[in-house]
């Protein structure tokens, strides 16, 4: 079967600072791909201003499919919905304040040919702050000496020692989600970590491509993790610990369960 890639872009709101600028850069980064993805699936809320912007935006030759998310906005649920409705055999999770590097999907297709057994490809992510200053790399640790069993591959053992891996920009085989489930919306803060733990526990082969594939804006004001750290939704150390422990307990199970943090349960 031919490998086709859908990009899944969940959007909660356009009422955040510099949204238009971020969004334009993000979409331009898809347009600039040397090998373009086959589909862009946008799962957005019915916020009026956002809907208007998406309807009027010039996506050029990109094959764009838009779905309106009418329930309570939730990153994980919107991503899962986008994956379910995507047509590609593979999917990549995208965020409106990030950018793909122009070589990313070209390299993904190349590596798919070289490593047909691999079911997920992670990019080396360049993390920047909101002033676009380099802050570090992510996903690169799979190459660090004496860190993983096999250079470049993410394993469950590695994840138990180090959690800093991210799904944004990564390309997953859709079958993986059908077999082992998508994000678990009830898990706060560590849903990406739990997802990776679950995949590696089920022997999904995950490889980092040693090429810069993605630029991630860290701690943008209004982002999920910014809110966890600075807003009224701020998460305290006890709760961080709780969600980490939860991820480590829940990854054995495919299904999401309703889990709520209360200080007493910590």
């Amino acid at each position: 079967m031919e490998n086709t890639i859908s990009v899944i872009l969940p959007i909660k709101s356009s009422l955040t600072r510099d949204f238009n600028e971020y969004f334009d850069k993000a979409i331009t980064s898809i347009k600039n791909q040397l090998v373009k993805p086959d589909e862009l699936v946008i799962v957005h809320t019915n916020e009026e201003q956002l809907t208007k912007l998406l309807n009027e935006y010039d996506f050029g030759e990109l094959n764009v499919v838009k779905y309106v998310w009418t329930q309570e906005p939730n990153y994980g649920e919107q991503v899962n919905y986008g994956i379910k409705n995507s047509k590609g055999t593979w999917f990549s999770i995208f965020e409106f304040d990030d950018e793909y590097s122009a070589i990313w999907f070209k390299n993904v297709k190349k590596y798919m040919g070289y490593y047909p057994e691999v079911q997920a490809f992670l990019p080396v992510v360049v993390d920047v702050d909101d002033k676009n200053t380099f802050a570090g790399f992510t996903n690169e640790a799979t190459f660090a000496a004496n860190f993983t069993m096999e250079m470049g591959y993410l394993t469950n053992d590695t994840l138990h020692n180090y959690q800093n891996f991210q799904t944004a920009g990564a390309v997953f085989n859709k079958q993986v989600i059908e077999d082992f489930g998508g994000f678990k919306p009830s898990i706060k803060l560590t849903f990406v970590y739990e997802f990776f733990l679950r995949l590696t526990y089920n022997s999904v082969s995950i490889m980092t491509i040693p090429k810069i594939g993605y630029k991630h804006t860290n701690m943008r004001e209004g982002s999920i993790f910014w809110n966890y750290k600075f807003s009224e939704e701020k998460i305290k150390d006890d709760e961080v610990k709780f969600w980490l422990e939860t991820a480590k307990k829940e990854y054995f199970f495919v299904d999401d369960r309703v889990i709520k943090y209360t200080p007493q349960t910590a």
Binding site: S101, I103, K106, N107, K110, Y111, Y114, Y115, V124, F134, G136, F137, E140, A141, F143, A144, A145, M151, G152, P210, K211, I212
Partner: protein, 350 residues
């Protein structure tokens, strides 16, 4: 007189029939791969396979050998003899091929009646163990084999009265471009290990964001392990001021791996502006490596540097040419010596 004639006739017969012993002196690398020793073994094995009578000569009885890094074939196919506690049988029709680093042995064997050849693979060591004023010819070493034209030009101006032949080394067929993409590993080969350590430590201190890149010191590996490891790398770094040939960069280039290296004091003939990144200031090597890494991560490496490198490396993989050269020169040495004995015989018989 009768005995002399018979001995000369026997010598001529041995030379014409390639039965003359050709002793190749080697150093004990204690199991470490060394291109200069490999060259000697390959020369000897080529001769052996073509009916000559080469013998590997080592200093001590507990010689480590080359089985671990070069292959068992070289130990089993070639007879080995130790200089220690052994009276070597050396007759006038025999030859001793002595690497330049064994200059101190020349004085000890100057009275041996055999043919004497210096094998000078590194111009840097040609005077190392000689006393001031001494040269090879005064010890009877009138023939020298070296490995490059440039090296020959240099040495012949120093070692007068010696004639020179060139046998260009080859690199193994193992060295070919890898089919899978490279990993973020840098192969490092420096003359002194301290230079490798210094390079790595400096690099990590200056560029901590790249600490997930691995540096591999390419010492102490077998040829197969060496080529397998090399093929995983995306970059080679080579530092050797004294090199006259440069096996490591050529092997890297043959694998399609770009090389960053310093320009040796005697620039190799194969080194061009477009087949590698050649620098004059070694202190900048970590910076060059960091620049290269960033470009590699962004797929910005020009394919020309890889293509040109492969072409350069490939040009040294011609084993047939190497063997032809070895056989041509050694046949010539035996023939010349046989002819000299014929002349001597004719004079005696007149």
């Amino acid at each position: 007189m009768e005995i002399n004639v018979e001995k000369i006739k026997e010598s001529i017969s041995n030379l014409r029939n390639k039965n003359s012993r050709i002793y190749f002196m080697v150093q004990d690398t204690k199991g470490n791969a060394k291109a200069s020793v490999k060259f000697i073994y390959e020369t000897a094995l080529t001769l052996k396979k073509n009916g000559f009578n080469p013998i590997i000569l080592h200093e001590k009885n507990d010689y480590t050998g080359v089985e671990k890094w070069l292959g068992s074939e070289y130990m089993t196919e070639l007879p080995h003899k130790s200089v220690e506690n052994q009276n070597l049988e050396i007759t006038p029709e025999d030859f001793i091929v002595l690497p330049e680093i064994f200059g101190f042995v020349m004085d000890q064997i100057k009275n041996l009646p055999c043919g004497k050849i210096v094998l000078a693979q590194s111009y840097r060591y040609i005077t190392e163990t000689l006393q001031p004023g001494q040269n090879w010819s005064q010890f009877g070493f009138l023939k020298c084999i070296t490995t490059t034209e440039k090296q020959k030009d240099y040495i012949e101006k120093v070692m007068k009265n010696t004639t020179f032949d060139i046998i260009e080394p080859t690199i193994s067929e193992y060295f070919e471009p890898r089919k899978l993409p490279a990993l973020p590993i840098v192969a490092v080969h420096t003359k002194d290990q301290s230079e490798t350590i210094n390079l790595i430590k400096t690099f990590y201190l200056k560029f901590p964001q790249y600490r997930w890149f691995t540096f591999k010191d390419m010492r102490g590996l077998s040829e197969k392990e060496f080529s397998d490891t090399l093929k995983e790398c995306f970059l080679s770094v080579w530092v050797d001021d004294d090199s006259a040939f440069g096996t490591f960069p050529l092997e890297s280039m043959a694998c399609g791996i770009p090389v960053i290296g310093n320009i040796p004091n005697m620039q190799p003939d194969w080194m061009t502006d477009d087949n590698g990144i050649w620098v004059t200031d070694k202190t900048l090597l970590p910076d060059y490596v960091a620049d290269f890494i960033q470009n590699w991560l962004e797929d910005n490496i020009k394919p020309e540097i890889i293509e040109s490198g492969i072409k350069t490396g490939e040009s040294f993989k011609n084993k047939e040419q190497f063997e032809t050269s070895v056989l041509k020169h050694f046949s010539g040495y035996l023939t010349q010596r046989a002819d000299a004995f014929e002349m001597q015989l004719n004079q005696i018989q007149k």
